[in-house]
Amino acid sequence: MNNTRAKIVVDHLSVQYDDGTESLRDISLEILANQITVLFGPAGGGKSTLLRALNRLNDLVDGVRLIGKIYLDGEDITGSRVDVTALRRRVGMVFAQAVPLPMSIRQNLTYGLELAGVRQAGKLDFAVEKSLRASALWDEVKDRLNDPAIALSGGQQQRLCLARVLALEPEVVLLDEPTSGLDPISTAKVEASLQEIKRDYTVVIVPHSVQQAARISDQAAFFLQGELIEYGAGKNLFVAPQNKRTEDYVTGRFG
């Protein structure tokens, strides 16, 4: 692929807590546009913290301190004067556990747009169909858009959560172990959607296994205890890791 423009630049980022613990230590990396970047490694490595720093969800937690900078299209998003609600529309997030909002399927999809002030029915209908098609859910739910979202199966709920983010037409989609609660077939559907949507979006994902990381990654970053150990093209990193610790983890010697 020719397009290797950096969408997000993380510059010497550390994340610390009030109690003195540190969940990220001096991380620098560039996340490329229209690629799937996987952040992987053992639990507690700081992957989710980095993900949440990218759309400022760490703001919701008391006592988190961030040192360093993160640039989105060259623009610093860490400052206190950044419009975080606008940022979160540009950088959407899918969580490990599918959480449909307590409303209909359709309302779940239009919720973010309505918050942003979009009222025209035509625009909302268009966004509903487009986002459901992108997450491969349209055919399954098009006849029951007014049903409560909770009535969907687990896999459908998670694709709805992806569609809900896509409805906002963000630039970056973050996914935090989106398939950890799903069966293999649902997982395959989500992964297939990701391959589709990366044409239009930049995708950053914390996978739920090394196998998934290897399967879907364009770029891969290996995190261990808050440090970035190795970062590079997935096709190289999983085949011939440069770092001994990466190799040990990828080959299953610890996990």
């Binding site: 759309n55 969800l57 919701l60 008391d62 609600t85 606008a86 979160r88 529309r89 959407g92 997030m93 969580f95 556990q97 959480v99 449909p100 909002l101 307590p102 409303m103 919720y111 973010g112 918050l115 942003a116 409560p148 979202a149 909770i150 959560c161 809900r164 983010v165 906002l168």
Partner: protein, 272 residues
């Protein structure tokens, strides 16, 4: 053991059945259209109790108008905004203590502050304000509890979709907590409707056979009227006493039933 527990349950339920049944048995003969819609006559020994019914309805509604917005707002503040610090801990302790104050003390406080100091006189407004202060702790703590019961994940999702804190509260958290909040409101107002002591010095009239014209008028009210005709008026027909008690009981119990219905309906429709 099973027998003991069953007996204990029966021991709590039986008195309720007995009290309601007894009052209905003695009170029903008094109930008529005239009793519910006419002014009292012959020193309250005949005629109806309309002023007392209207007075209690006004007091309940007025208390709701004051206590509901304040109480729900305070509940939202405590559940959604307040940080856990000395200040909010002090507020919580104050609310708990407020709930424990005997109602006659509220009555004296209302007399001192609203009736005398603020020159509202013995009036509906003074009574509503007094009953509001008494009702607030119930509304605040049930509202806070209902808001806290809404899963945190809804808030995170809403904010991650570009929602502001207030949009999240208004569009997600509050609608989900509404049944619980309503239950608290009704239970609080139900207590306000049935209390005698807080209205004793602030609003209730011994005998005022006309309907109130403004919020600065005194009025008769069911609980106080019941006290008056039961203890202060010689030669009072017993069926009028029990008829009045029955009206008050039905008024309060129907609020209770509405609260229960709201709660069970909401539980059946809840999506989490």
């Amino acid at each position: 053991m099973f027998l003991l527990i069953s007996a204990a349950t029966a021991a709590t339920v039986l008195p309720i059945v007995f009290v309601v049944g007894y009052i209905a048995w003695l009170g029903l003969p008094a109930i008529s259209v005239e009793f519910l819609t006419a002014l009292p006559r012959e020193g309250m020994r005949a005629g109806g109790i309309l002023p007392a019914i209207v007075g209690t309805v006004y007091l309940t509604l007025g208390t709701g108008l004051i206590a509901v917005p304040l109480g729900v707002a305070a509940g939202i503040y405590l559940a959604e905004y307040a940080k856990d610090n000395q200040f909010t801990r002090a507020i919580r302790i104050a609310i708990i203590n407020l709930a424990g104050i005997p109602s006659v003390v509220y009555g004296l406080f209302g007399l001192g502050l609203f009736v005398l100091f603020l020159h509202f006189g013995t009036s509906i407004i003074a009574g509503c304000l007094t009953l509001s202060i008494m009702t607030l702790p119930v509304i605040i703590s049930t509202a806070e509890e209902a808001l806290r019961a809404v899963p945190q994940s809804f808030r995170v999702v809403s904010i991650s979709l570009g929602g502001t804190k207030w949009q999240t509260i208004w569009r997600i958290v509050l609608p989900q907590a509404l049944p619980g909040i309503l239950t608290g409101i009704i239970l609080g107002l139900e207590r306000a409707a049935g209390e005698t002591a807080p209205i004793l010095f602030t609003v209730a009239a011994f005998f005022l056979p006309r309907l109130p014209h403004s919020i600065f008028d005194a009025t008769m009210a069911l609980p106080y009227h019941l006290f008056v005709i039961s203890t202060q008026v010689p030669g009072m027909p017993i069926r009028i006493q029990y008829g009045t008690a029955l009206v008050l009981l039905v008024f309060v119990l129907s609020m209770n039933i509405i609260a229960t219905l709201i709660r069970s309906r909401a539980r059946a429709r809840r999506q989490w």
